[in-house]
Symmetry: C2
Subunit: 297 residues, 2 copies
C-alpha cells in the first residue's frame, strides 16, 4: 500500500477510534457491566473497512467529516453487533475474535445478547441525534437506508440464508445472494451514508457508487474465503479453516482457489470501472478497492 | 371495563393487527423461514398495551391514525423483539409465551436471535419510511426517542440491571430503577411517539404525558408482579411464579401483596392527576390507566 494512502488510513482509523471512544457510553455509567461489554466489543477492533469506505465516499461528496463520523459509527456499530451475535454458541460458536475472547466468553451469553441489541439501538441514535444532512428529510432516508441494510432483507436476512445453507451445495448465484445480503448490504450502506452526508450527487452518481459498493462487497467476501483457506490462525486472529470445517459453502469450495482469486480480480476491475466518471475525487475509494482485494495475495 | 371502551379497544386491536399483518414481510418472500418466524413472534399476540397507549395519545394530540399506526408498530416490534430474546435459554429460558411455544422452541435459537435483530431494524424502518410528522426534523427526534428508549439507557439497560439483580435483595429505589428502564422506557416512548404524530402540544404538555407514562409504566409492572404471584399458568399463558422461583426481586417480594396492590392504586391516582389539564381529550388514556391497573384485582 502506498505510503501516502497508508498514512490516510492510519489517520482515519485513529480519529475514528477517538469518535467511538467518546461516543460510546462510559463504563462508569450504569448499567456498568453492559457498557463495559459494549466498549469491549467495539473498541480496538478490526480495520474499520466500512468506516473507511464511508469517509472515502464522504470526501468524494464534499461532506463535513464531523457528519461522516456519526454515519460511519452507526454502520460500524451494526457491524460490531452482528459479530457479537454471530459469535454466540447458537450461531457460529466462536471463542476468538480479533485475537481476543469473544464477548460471550469474556462476559456471558446473556450480556452478549444485550450488547448486540443495545449496539443496534445506538446505531440508530447516532443517525438521528445530530444533523447529518442539510435536509432532515434526507437524513430520514439515511435512517431507512441503514434499517433496510441491517434487517431481514439485508444483513440479518443474509445470516438467515447462511444458516440455511450449512451442509448444502449452493450454486454460485445462491452463494452470491447470501453474501450480497450478509456482508454486501452494510458495505453499500457505508458508502451511500458517507455520500449522503455531502451534497450535490445526482441519483445517477449515487447509483454508480452503489454499484461500486456491491462489487467491492462481493470482492471482499471472495477474498475472505481465499484468506480463510490460506491463512493460519495466528495471522487472522480467528480460527482459520472454520468455514470449511463447518461444511459451509465458500467461493473457494465452489470455484477452487485459483478461480476464486480470478473472480476477486474481475470484481475489482468492474468496481474501478464504475468510478470512472468521478476522477480524482474517487481516489480514496479506488485505493480502498485495491486495499480490500490486494490485502494478502 | 365499560362497553364503549372495550369496543374502542377491540377496534384498535383489530385494525392494528391488520397493519402488522400487512407491514411485516411476507413469509413467501426470502428468507422465508426468518420471515415466517418474525410473523410468528409478532402476530396474534398480547393485548397490544403499548400500541393502545400510542393510539390514545395520538387521539389526544389530534394525530392522523394512519401515522400513529406506524409509530405504534415500531414500538410493538421493539417490544416483540425483546420478548423473543428474553425467552432464549441464555436469558429467562421460557418455553411458553401467550400460550404458544416461544420462538426458539418453535424454530431454533439461531433463528430466534436473528428474528429479534431483524425486528429491531424493522422498527426503525417503520419510523423512517413514511411521513409521520409534518416536520421531518421532528420525525428524526422520534427516531432518537425510540433508539434511546430501546438501548442501553432504556429497555436493554433495564434487562442488564435485571440480570445483575438475580439472587440479590434490592431496595425499592433499585427495583424501581430497573423497571423504569426495562418496561417503563418503552411505555413512555409509545405515548410520546403517538403524541408526536399530532401537532400543537407544548413541551409542558408533553412533560405531563411523559409523567403519566412513567407512572403508568411502574403501575403496569407492580400489577404484573401481583398477577404473577396470584395467577396460575392457565390464566397468564406463561409459567406462573417464575420470578419467585428464579429468586428475582419483585414488588410483592419486597413489599408484600397488600402493600404492592396499594402502591399500584397510588401510582394510578397520580397518573390520572397528571392528565387533569387535558379534559375530555385524555379520556382514552384515563381508561387505559384504569385498564392497566384494574385488569385483574
Amino acid at each position: 500500500m502506498a505510503k501516502e494512502f497508508s498514512s490516510w488510513v492510519a489517520d482515519q482509523q485513529s480519529r475514528f477510534e477517538d469518535v467511538l471512544r467518546n461516543q460510546l457510553p462510559s463504563a462508569e455509567v450504569a448499567p456498568q457491566r453492559l457498557h463495559a461489554a459494549m466498549r469491549y466489543s467495539v473498541l480496538d477492533g478490526g480495520k474499520r473497512v466500512r468506516p473507511l469506505l464511508a469517509f472515502a465516499a464522504g470526501e468524494l461528496a464534499g461532506a463535513d467529516v464531523a457528519r461522516v463520523n456519526y454515519a460511519a459509527a452507526a454502520v460500524e456499530l451494526i457491524h460490531a453487533y452482528s459479530l457479537v451475535h454471530d459469535d454466540m454458541p447458537c450461531m457460529d460458536d466462536d471463542v476468538l475474535r480479533r485475537g481476543k475472547p469473544t464477548c460471550h466468553v469474556e462476559y456471558d451469553e446473556a450480556t452478549a445478547l444485550l450488547v448486540g441489541d443495545a449496539l443496534q439501538s445506538l446505531a440508530f441514535q447516532f443517525l438521528s441525534e445530530q444533523r447529518l444532512s442539510d435536509e432532515p428529510s434526507k437524513q430520514l432516508q439515511m435512517v431507512k437506508l441503514l434499517a433496510v441494510a441491517s434487517g431481514s432483507r439485508g444483513m440479518a436476512g443474509g445470516q438467515a440464508i447462511d444458516l440455511a445453507s450449512v451442509g448444502k451445495q449452493l450454486t454460485l448465484p445462491e452463494l452470491e445472494q447470501m453474501h450480497i445480503h450478509k456482508t454486501g448490504a452494510l458495505i453499500r450502506a457505508a458508502i451511500l451514508l458517507g455520500a449522503h452526508c455531502g451534497n450535490g450527487l445526482s441519483d445517477a452518481q449515487l447509483d454508480k457508487l452503489d454499484r461500486f459498493g456491491k462489487l467491492i462487497g462481493l470482492a471482499f467476501q471472495v477474498v475472505d474465503d481465499v484468506l480463510d483457506c490460506e491463512a493460519d490462525t495466528a495471522t487472522l486472529g480467528k480460527t482459520a479453516g472454520k468455514d470449511a470445517d463447518n461444511d459451509k459453502p465458500t467461493y473457494v469450495s465452489l470455484l477452487g482457489l485459483q478461480e476464486a482469486k480470478a473472480m476477486a480480480h474481475r470484481l475489482h476491475s468492474e468496481a474501478l470501472e464504475s468510478l470512472s466518471e468521478f476522477g480524482e475525487s474517487a481516489r480514496r475509494l479506488r485505493e480502498l478497492a485495491d486495499f480490500i482485494v490486494l490485502r494478502k495475495f
